[in-house]
Amino acid sequence: MTLPGTGAATLEQATGRTDADAVDATLAASGDAHAFERLYRAHLGRVSSLVRRMLSDDDTDDVIQDVFVRAWQKLGTFRGESAFGTWLHRLAVNVILGRRETLGIRRQRHLDGDMALESVPSRRTTPEISMDFEAAIARLPNGARQVFVLHDVEGYRHEEIATMLGLATGTSKSQLHRARMALRRHLER
């Protein structure tokens, strides 16, 4: 099992990061904004990536800010039992999902179902592969996209994803499969 979002990072780097995070989280919990800024800079990449892929709309900067502001407010509840990055990530997911639910109107902009994906032509004729891939993820239906991002990009397990999204584990698995198959079809173009 890979660590959430480790990607290219080694375990050693993660461990080293954990020390500094624990220190800064403690400081920030009692008002040290400089320490919080360090945490922000250290974790911005992961939070920003998560927000932008989960939401795929244009107000992601606001949501990223919301995540960190909420994290600042909730620092007192961080007990250090998990790594700060893990805690922050879960908090980010909550903020993202909470926003999605309150923005019922925006939701209708996203088409649900595989039909949406098949109706959109491939954007580029000479693809830069990763942008094409990111664009393809953005075109996934909401539910499938979120499961895909949480599972394949961020490394959560289906049990965790099911809890976070309020789904049955089986639904999480089938949504993941839909996402992967849709991406496969899109990439063939």
Partner: protein
């Protein structure tokens, strides 16, 4: 397109199939090129997903966050040791000593450690009042107590230095010299640690070393002040 085999490919890839279904699928894969191709594609997708780079925002979002959490970065104060007292930013951390089971550095009882953006002041000078936040290490209840305590490292240092300054005549001159010399030793160590930290602010060792060295200064000042008050 969906059939009982392709529907299972993701679970197979993620090693989530029960053994009997797994065996059945592997048997199927041996002679189904379409499924084999699909599986290969799925693997590629998963691999690519895991390797995705971070996507950063286009602009620096920190000022907006800082404004919302009430931390005005413009107010960050910094002190230089020179005669001009130029200001520079600094930061300060403590290791998770609590997690390690060691006692935290206590200032005036309880688990309160206070920080302030103040440099090193010679015995004769009176430093400006600090405005950095109170820091507490420990659980939430202790944090709240610490905030309520509201004293700062700088205030403690300046109080003690004032006591010493006003009463140094009560102490033997040799003792005064010894104390001043050792305060200077500690101040020099603080300055070196601070400079090192400026270049590497997330360094856990440097942060804790600076904190501990500041604590040594405070303890020495306290000791000196206690001597003064008991001298007759």
């Amino acid at each position: 397109m969906s059939d009982q085999w392709t529907d299972r490919l993701s679970e197979y890839l993620d090693d989530e199939l029960p053994p009997d279904e797994r065996a059945a699928l592997e048997t199927h894969l041996r002679h189904c090129t379409a499924c084999g191709a699909a599986l290969a594609d799925l693997k590629r997708i998963v691999t690519r997903a895991r390797g995705l780079e971070d996507r950063l925002p286009d602009r620096d979002l920190w000022p907006g966050i800082a404004a919302r959490i009430g931390a005005n970065s413009g107010e960050a104060r910094a002190i230089d040791l020179g005669a001009e007292r130029a200001r520079r930013r600094w930061s300060f951390s403590l290791p998770q000593l609590a997690a390690a089971g060691l006692a935290l550095m206590a200032l005036s009882g309880g688990s309160v450690w206070l920080l302030q953006p103040h440099g090193n002041v010679p015995l004769a000078a009176h430093p400006a009042a600090p405005t950095m936040p109170v820091l507490a290490v420990g659980n939430s209840a202790a944090s709240l107590r610490a905030r309520a305590a509201g004293q700062s490292y700088a205030a403690a240092v300046s109080d003690l230095e004032r006591v010493l300054q006003q009463n140094r005549g009560r102490l033997n001159s040799t003792t005064v010299q010894v104390i001043e010399r050792n305060l200077a030793t500690i101040d020099s160590a603080i300055a070196q640690a601070q400079r090192a930290l400026d270049a590497d602010s997330a360094n856990v060792y440097l942060n804790s070393h600076l904190a501990e060295t500041r604590q040594r200064k405070l303890e020495l000042l306290r000791q000196a002040a206690a001597l003064v008050s008991s001298a007759s």
